[in-house]
Subunit: 202 residues, 2 copies
C-alpha cells in the first residue's frame, strides 16, 4: 500500500492509558486564512476532551501545527498533530487497521434521541471522527466512508462544539478530570482567582 | 436605574417552556475582525444547546447579529440576540432580577471533579453565562461579578466548546432532542444522506 504512513503514525495511540478506545479527529476542508482560529479551537477541544490525535487533511498549515504543539508541550500529555494527508487515504488506512469512521453532521442520527452512541461503543473499535468545515463531499455520508453519521443535535452550530460534546459523552466526562502527564503548567482549580503550578524544568 | 433596558429585554426568557431555568450567554471581548466566525459559533452553540439568548457585550457587530438571527428565523425557536450592552451593566441588571452569573474559565472549579454544577443547580436561579475571548479583566473572578467560576476542564481549549459542554451537562442532554418551534427547516435525522422538511410558508 502506497500511503499507509499517516495511519501507522497513530498506531501508538490505539490503546491509551485508560484502556479505552482511541479517537483521532480528522478535520476536512480547512482554509488557512478563513478557518485558522476555528480549526485551532477544534484541535484544542479534541485534545482537551480526550482525543489522542488530530489530522488536518488535504492541506498544510504550519502556523496551526505550531500553535497546537505549543499547547501540548506546555500543558502536557501526548497529542499527535498530522497534516496534509489526503482524507480518503486517512480513512482507508484507519479502516485497514480495524478502526471505524464516525462522521459528525447535522443530518445524522441524533446523539440524544437515538441509540447511535451505544452502537458506536458496542463496536469496540478505535474511532476516526470526521468533521467538515465547509460543505463536505457526498461520499462522507456513504457506508464506504462513514460507519456512522452522528448529529450532535440536528440544529446548526459548530464543529468545535460538536467534537467537544461527542467526546464528552463518549468518555462519559472522565476526560475532564484526567491528569495530562509531562506538563510544564498545571492549573490549580479554585473558586476564585488564577493559580497555576509551573515546572521550570531545572 | 439608568441602564436596565438590556436585562429587561430578557425577562421573557426567564421561564422557558420546559419550566427549567433560563440561561443567557454573555460574550466579552469580541473583536469584529478577528473573532467573527468564532463568536458566531459561540452564539449558535448557545442557541442549539438550550440558551435563550446571547449578549455581545461592549461592542456592535451587525453582520454577526444578522447571521445569528438568520439561523434562528430559518431553524426556529426563540433566541434573543443583544449587543453593545456594557458587560457590567448586563451583570448588574441580571443580578437585580435575582439571577446569578457563572464565569467559564480554565482556572475555575472543575465541572467534572468538583460539585460546582450541583451547587449551581441548587441555586435554582437563572444564569448569565460569562465567556471571554481574550484575557478577561480580573474582576470577572470576583464575588461581586461571578457567583461561580467554572472550568470545563482545566486545559486550554475553546469558549465555544466550553459553552456547549456546560449547557449539555446543565440540561442533561435534553436540549439536543427538543423541537424548535416555528422552523422553516427541520432535519429528518437519518443513518445516511441528507433529508430536510421545508415549510415554504404558502
Amino acid at each position: 500500500m502506497a500511503n499507509s504512513k499517516p495511519a501507522q503514525q497513530f498506531t501508538q495511540f490505539n490503546n491509551n492509558e485508560a484502556g479505552t478506545r482511541g479517537i483521532v479527529v480528522l478535520r476536512w476542508g480547512h482554509r488557512a486564512h478563513r478557518d485558522a482560529r476555528l480549526t485551532t479551537h477544534v484541535a484544542l477541544a479534541a485534545r482537551a476532551f480526550g482525543a489522542t490525535g488530530f489530522i488536518l487533511s488535504d492541506t498544510f498549515d504550519e502556523h496551526l501545527k505550531a500553535s497546537v504543539e505549543k499547547v501540548t508541550k506546555r500543558w502536557g500529555g501526548k497529542f499527535r498533530f498530522e497534516m496534509g494527508t489526503p482524507w480518503k487515504n486517512a480513512v482507508r488506512d484507519w479502516k485497514m487497521r480495524d478502526g471505524i469512521a464516525v462522521h459528525l453532521t447535522i443530518y445524522g442520527e441524533n446523539i440524544q434521541s437515538s441509540n447511535v452512541l451505544s452502537r458506536i461503543r458496542a463496536s469496540g473499535k478505535n474511532i476516526l471522527l470526521l468533521v467538515g468545515s465547509r460543505k463536505v463531499p457526498p461520499e462522507f455520508f456513504s457506508a464506504e466512508i462513514s460507519d456512522f453519521n452522528v448529529a450532535v443535535g440536528n440544529q446548526p452550530h459548530s464543529e468545535c462544539a460538536a467534537v467537544a460534546v461527542f467526546l464528552d459523552r463518549f468518555f462519559e466526562g472522565k476526560e475532564l478530570a484526567k491528569d495530562f502527564g509531562d506538563a510544564m503548567v498545571r492549573v490549580i482549580p479554585q473558586e476564585r482567582g488564577k493559580k497555576t503550578e509551573v515546572d521550570h524544568g531545572v
